[in-house]
Every structure is written in C-alpha cells, then in structure tokens.
Symmetry: C2
Subunit: 317 residues, 2 copies
C-alpha cells in the first residue's frame, strides 16, 4: 500500500532553504539523517489520525476559497455553543473580514457594529447571547488529555497539547488554557471581559501573540486555508481596520460541517499529538541532524510545530 497525502498544515518543518539548483541531488540523505517532516508523516499509521466531530468544524466560504476551523468545546463551551447558534441562524453570511493587522490578526464581524458603523444597521444576534462569562482559562481536569512538551516556555509554567491544540497550564492555580499560536481562532471583545459573544472572531497571522493568553477566549484553530487569510491585504486604519468598506473581504457563508451534505463536508484528519508519529516529529524538530542543519536547535517552542492536518479525500491506496 502506497499512501500519499496532501499535508495541509505542517509546512513549517519541511526541508529548509535550498537556494540553488541540484542541492538535493548533490547531497543524497544518508541513513543517519534526521528524516524530514514529510518522510515522517508518510510513515504514519491510519489510527494516528483522528477525524474531528463535524459539530466542531466550521466551514467559511470567501470569494477565493474555503477556510476550515476546528472548535474545542471543552475549553470554551459557552462560546462554542453561541457561535454554532450564530452560524445556524446565518448571522455571518454577508458580513466581512474588516481588519487585517500585519503580524497580528485577521478579524471578522459586523462592520456596522465597529467604530464608524451605523448603529441602526447592526445585525441582530437572533437567539444568540449578547454577553457570556469569559472562558479565558478552565480548571485542569483529569478527563482532558495532556501531552506535555518538556522544552520550557517563556510565558507559562507548563505547555503541551490538549486535544491536539497547543495549550498551557498552571498547576499552582489549577488553570489550563489554549495558547495563541499562528492560526489560533479566538473571540474579540470590548473592554468588559464578558463582552465577547462570538459575533466577532480573529485568527492569528503573525508572531504568536502570547500576551493575549488568558485575556481572550480561544475557541480553536484554522485547519485549512491559513495561506488565504494570511495573504489578505493589510488594513491601514487604526489597529489594521480597513479604511474603505470596499477593501473588506466578504464572507459568503459560514456553516457547521454537520449541517452540510456529506459531499460538501471537509475530509479533514488531524494527527493525534500523543501519537508516535507526532512525537517523532517533535524529536526531529529538536534534534535535527541532516545535510543542511549544522546546529540542531535542541528545543522546540509550543508554537513551532503546527499540528499536522491532512485531507483524507486525497489519500490514495
């Protein structure tokens, strides 16, 4: 069986920066080289991948293509439920990406609710709640899996993966939270901590803004389409908001994957972070020895190895 797959979100570990022709051919890998991420993934077993619950997948259509996000209801049950309500009542359809701040976030919401909008035209939230208790952290629970990353962290006492999302925890305060890495999906809010309700969302498109951890409610991450979001033109108003409405990217629709006919559902699979293959990827990132790397980094940051995603509809026997 020869399994190949289009790997959607694990590019960060691919071989590095060969600039000149013929390099790979000139220096064939030896048996002692650290395998590349692609090599490691090609040797993964089917049981190491999981298919997200379609209730937890959001599918957003922009004019140029599809964005898929995985939600984590165990970390933000109230916000995830409110987002599902908004999506199911078609709240987002016809709204827009209103803000792209370089090295920070892409954000979408109702432009009429932002500064400069027309308060009379604000779209009603329907049966969704307007305020929610913040879900910035949650208590550590034994029922939640924890795959510790022992490499240390600047911001948190402990980091690791929980349900295959990058996360942190503080045993001293009995708190755990999802962290802000590239691709993290979270809820924008006003100053009041309970003012986020899911009608405004943002995705990280730059350096991990870890200062936001424990200050905003993280609900998940983008698992397909980051390359579209990150390449959107930057906004040049304050905070990266677009100055002219014509600059905004319209949202054609957002759906919960469970509500789509099966032919239209994404066939996404996520590599389990407790799997031998993911652990092997972490070791390869940490202790890389090959024809290119002179000095292995020795460590790996919690945001440095995006959890791999593949499209199982592209798998061939």
């Amino acid at each position: 069986m020869n399994v190949t797959a289009k790997i959607l979100a694990c590019v960060a570990l691919l071989p590095c920066l060969p600039a000149l022709a013929g390099s790979a051919a000139d220096s064939p890998p030896t048996g002692r080289d650290t395998p590349s991420a692609a090599q490691i993934l090609s040797e993964s077993k089917p049981w190491e991948w999981r298919r997200p619950d379609p209730e937890n997948l959001l599918v957003m259509h922009l004019p140029k293509g599809r964005i898929v996000m995985e939600l984590d209801p165990d970390y933000a049950p109230l916000h995830v439920a409110n987002i599902r309500t908004l999506v199911r009542e078609r709240y987002f359809d016809g709204l827009a990406i209103v803000r792209v701040q370089d090295d920070f976030v892409v954000q979408w919401d109702d432009p009429e609710a932002d500064d400069g909008g027309d308060p009379h035209k604000i779209r009603p939230l329907g049966s969704a709640k307007a305020t929610l208790p913040p879900e910035f952290t949650r208590p550590i629970a034994r029922s939640l899996p924890w795959v510790r990353l022992a490499d240390g962290d600047v911001y948190a006492p402990e980091v690791g993966f929980s349900q295959d999302f990058p996360a942190a925890r503080s045993p001293a305060s009995d708190e755990t939270w999802l962290v802000h890495c590239y691709g993290t999906l979270a809820i924008s809010r006003d100053n009041a901590p309970d003012s986020g309700n899911g009608s405004g969302l943002y995705v990280v498109i730059g350096e991990s803004p870890r200062r936001l951890d424990r200050n905003l409610t993280v609900v998940g991450r983008v698992v397909e389409g980051m390359d579209q979001l990150s390449a959107l033109p930057r906004g040049h108003g304050p905070l990266g908001f677009y100055v002219h409405p014509s600059e905004r990217t319209p949202i054609l629709e957002i759906r919960v994957a469970a509500d789509l006919p099966s032919s239209q559902r994404p066939h996404i699979e996520i590599l389990r972070t407790r799997s031998p293959t993911f652990q092997r990827m972490l070791r390869a990132a940490r202790d890389r020895h090959d024809a290119f790397y002179v000095t292995p980094p020795g460590k790996v940051d919690i945001c440095a190895v995006p959890v791999p995603v593949r499209d199982s509809s592209l798998l061939h026997d």
Copy 2:
C-alpha cells in the same frame, strides 16, 4: 512642541481587540493604566532614536512600493560586503521574489539558478564572491553593545538586543548571533555551509523560525514594508516556490541608500533598545494593566516586541 510621528513597525503592542463601537469612550483610561505603545513612543526624546548609516540601508522597489532593510555588518561583515557589491553592480534589478511559503519566508534570487531554471541563463555574480565562510555566529565582543532581556528563552541561554537587533548569546561557547524573528533578513544557501553568498535572501513572515538560528547567516531586518512582503500570494509549489513564473513579483531595483540622492533616501529612525523609552515599552508589555488586560503576561519573548521604527520626514513640530 507637539511631536507626532508615523510609527512604522511597532504595531504589535497597540491596544488590543476592541470589537464593538464606543469601547474607548466607555472606559476612559485611568492614571494607573499601563500606557499604550503609542503613548510611550509619543513621549520619547529625539536622542533616543538613531539614524542608520545609509551604507547599511537597502532600498528595494517592488511594483507596489518600497521595502527598506537595515544590515548589520558587525554580525555578517563578509556577507554584507558581498550584498553591497551585488547591489552596486545591479545584480538584483529585474530578478524576482520566487518563493512565499506561508508561516515561514519570502525569498528572492535569480529564478534561473533555482530548480527548474535554465543554467545557461544564470546571471553572473560579477565581482561578488560565489562562496563565503558562514557567519552563523560570531564571538562575543565587549565592543558590541548588549541589552539583555531577562525574561528567559526556549532556545538560547541568553537573549537581548545587539545594535537594536534581536539577538542571543552563549557565554559558555563565546558565541553570539542575531535571531530569527518576524522581519528578520537572512541569506539562503545550499547544503554546504559556505554556499550562501547574498544572491538569495529571505525574510521571515510567520512564527519565528528559531530553529534556523546558528544555521543561516542573518544580515539584518526589514524596517519598512513588511506589510507588503507578508501579504504576497503564497506559492503552491514545493517549499512555497511559485509554480508559474507569472506569479513572481518582479524586483524593479535594489539600491544602497548611500548611493541615492538625499531626496530619495529613506528618513528612517530606529528606537535605541537601551533607551528609557524602549525599556519602558518592554515593561509595559510585560506588566500590562489597563481596562482591557485581565492577566498581564508577566514576561516578554525576544521576538514579541519589534524594535520601533519611524519615518522622521513625517515628524511635525
């Protein structure tokens, strides 16, 4: 005197994610709030800013605008000299951005020298050298300023700023190096460590790829125009190379600022990292208390506070 300035590269600390209208007005800052980055910068003194040596500024013109980069010859003297030679012999004019790999790098070089190019059409390097000893690290020297960041780091024993570039050092091995943050400018190479010569360069556009530290020669950073580079369409060939030549962004020209008439030189100023204002920004990032932040991050990562840049031609008395 009322000094205002367009701040080009310090957006990462600006107030966070207000989603709804009127938030600022609803919650006026109190005297005890941590000042915003913009507030802190507005109170800076002229002597806290430095004007880079025009010999160390590269000005690249793309069809949509200008990119300015500052080189650091103390960390990579041989590579910086070779780049200046290439630029002065017009090596880059008419070449192209050939690669945009999402969450990683933008790269430019001679497409004919890459895989799939025509070796007969490779542009000659002129009087520039084809190979150079790697300048991945250098010995720690007392003559080089060091502004330590005491917050810790996952990858290096010590981090801080050297000549206002983010840097790391290892006293045990007597090595120091510039680190890979968002906006870092470095030299692509083949597998051989001496194969980089400056004819191919890359800029970081995603999560800091710190694994590259000490494996590639960092020569500086982008100080204007990151928002253009980071928004370029991603390449969909292997490693983010563009599949079709028509997708590439042409480089109209690159010049050393010292070679430009003064009217065309960038009026860039960089905030000195040892200045009270920059240190105040770090403290504000670390211990942020205001109407928005519930839990101050307590720490700041070496890549989390981009060193501010301003355009002094936009300063008004």
